[in-house]
């Protein structure tokens, strides 16, 4: 009788523990669960990536599991790990999804050194993009060589500008700072650094930079220095005012668009429209920004919306209509 009891206890323990885990833990289910968790959690949560990795290891052939895991690894900064997965199986024919992943991993991780290893394995549009990707590395190597030969302010400024073009702000700033250490207030580096600060709307830094270079701003200096200084001061004044956020955004957008920074102005006006999308002034401002960016259809769309609210026709619409 005792024996039967014990066997029954063991069996029930087995059923309680094993059966649910078998039923509810298919790789897709578990991966799906982690993928959903991402909505609440940061994508680079290491513990989550690690758990996903375990699921992937058990199911390397499951496309959904593989794609989901790789995507998150790449975004989290472990792209080289993903790329080497493909290099470990050189005989395997790459699917379109794989080629897309490889290109994404190369670009995201800046793995220019690995580009050649995939040269013969990517096809069609992916091959063309890989070629373009490799060209960036060639250019960068030229800049590196230039710095090696002449490690002066001008060479660092050149590479800093190149990194800016690539959208690598941190890398660009590091080079531009180095350039200005070697050649204080180097106009080339100063200009680029100010542009970068404008893009991140860091006007306080611009003022501080230009203040430092005040003694070097002389009659021979380019006009942009005083223009930028004035704009940065005006923006800073708006920031420091007691005005409500909406009012500040509106004034800043106007200042930016009127001083040749429509992209930054657009960020501000888009935020305004999120707050109130039926405000005719905001819509007209958005239209004007698109006009300055030479985007006719968008400009027309917003000015029409603004006119529908006010019921009046505007001069701006005529200007937009005359755009090429």
């Amino acid at each position: 009788m005792n024996k039967i009891c014990y066997i029954a206890i063991l069996f029930s323990l087995f059923v309680v523990q094993v059966v649910p885990s078998c039923l509810f833990s298919s790789p897709e289910n578990r991966m799906q669960k982690f993928a959903e968790m991402h909505e609440q959690k940061k994508i680079d949560n290491p513990q989550m990536l690690f758990e996903m990795g375990k699921i992937f290891l058990k199911n390397p052939e499951n496309t959904f599991v593989k794609n989901e895991y790789f995507q998150r690894m790449i975004v989290s900064g472990y792209s080289s790990h993903v790329l080497h997965y493909f290099l470990l199986s050189p005989q395997k024919k790459l699917e379109n999804d794989d080629m897309k992943t490889i290109l994404f991993a190369l670009q995201k991780g800046k793995h220019y050194n690995l580009a050649t290893e995939f040269k013969d394995r990517l096809e069609g549009e992916f091959s063309v993009k890989l070629e373009q990707f490799s060209e960036v590395m060639d250019t960068l190597e030229c800049y590196n060589q230039q710095i090696k030969d002449n490690p002066n302010g001008a060479s660092f400024a050149q590479r800093g500008k190149f990194f800016t073009k690539l959208g690598e702000q941190d890398l660009a700033n590091r080079d531009l700072d180095q350039s200005m250490r070697l050649y204080p207030c180097n106009p080339d580096a100063l200009f680029q650094k100010i542009m970068n600060h404008f893009n991140s709307e860091n006007t306080r830094e611009i003022i501080s930079l230009l203040d430092k270079c005040e003694n070097r701003i002389n009659s021979k200096s380019p006009v942009w220095k005083s223009t930028f200084y004035e704009l940065a001061k005006n923006i800073e004044e708006v920031e420091q005012s007691n005005e409500a956020r909406e009012g500040k955004l509106f004034r800043k957008a106007n200042l930016y668009v009127n001083n040749g920074f429509p992209e930054i102005a657009l960020r501000n006006s888009q935020e305004l429209l999120k707050m109130r999308n039926n405000n005719a002034d905001y819509l007209a401002l958005q239209a004007f920004i698109y006009y300055r960016m030479n985007q006719k259809s968008q400009a027309l769309k917003y000015i029409t919306e603004a006119e529908q609210i006010t019921g009046k026709s505007s001069k701006l619409k005529e200007l937009i209509a005359d755009m090429n």
Binding site: N2, K3, I9, L10, Q17, G77, S80, L114
Partner: protein
Amino acid sequence: MNHKERKSAVFTLLLLIVVFAAIDLLLGLFLIPQNFNHFRVRNTRFHHGLKKNVSANAVWGPLIYRFYTNNLAFRDVSVREVDLISDKRRILILGDSHSEGVGIDYRFTFAGRLQESGEKFDIEILNASAVSYSPKIHFLKADYLLNKMKLKVNEIWVVIDISDLQNEIAYQSFSSTEQKWYASVQEKFSRFFHKHSFTVFSISGIKEKKKTEIFNETLLGLKQQTGSLPNRNTLELYKEFFRTFEDEDLLKNPDFHAVSEWIYNEQLRDLADLGLKLGFENISKLNQLCSDQNIKLRLSVHPWQTQVLKGDTTDYYVENWRKFCQQENIDFINLYPVFINEENPLWIAQTCYIEGDNHFNETGHKRVAQYLSKYLNVQQ
């Protein structure tokens, strides 16, 4: 109690033990988390090492990678037999986690790449590195391999970095003893129960609690300084290497765990100097051992991300080792210029190191391999 009752009592007792064991193992099966470091073993001679002939999945932070060891318990491209004596010229690499290649498949580590390119020159590369090794362990392990195992090598390449300052201090109280004949059986039993018995797992967890608490407090301080915490599984390894370290005040000091900053911080310079002094003593012993066996010794230093961002190829650490090697007639290889040069330092930090980590990624390993490969074909 008559015979029948006694028999019944014994039977019930046995049954209870069996049921307890079954439940214990069953609970262990579901509740004990998977251990990805089971191939790392303690060693009474050289503190710790790897198991022989392992084929496993290893983890480093969120990275999961394949891990193989050969019959000599060295990390390798696959599980394979390596003879103690070889006709080929042999180079033995001794290093820490960087040389072991944490987070990276072996063929993409610098040691794996050198192994591959060494074949062209008929050179065999063996890698006896493991996580948290430092000069003291390099000497003890080399002594064991050369004198006890009678492994024949032509060259030893010691690969060190700034973490050795801390490791040397942590291993100061470790004394090497002969491995007892029953030690491996004991270790196997212990591992089995830790891996499968929920009771043993829970009790050992309680025992470890004190040390864990000290670490948690300390690392909280470290988090305030650096803004990040090491991953759980790497933290367990890190804790393990302090197992013979008794200075709780130092363990509780967050600065003690930021070893890459020691040489730049005047208050910690004494600690850095102590680490250097201990390192010199141990490499000196290793140099003597190599001279006795006519083995060429080379020593290389490589930078962490912190050093790359500082941009100094001849810092306090490098210069001290360079001078020491000059005095001891050891070939010195400075790998700092491989990472600190005309390139953008932030670019190097972003592209050559594992995200948020001081270890090389595959790109960093490739650079090291390219640089070191020029020493492959240099005869004594």
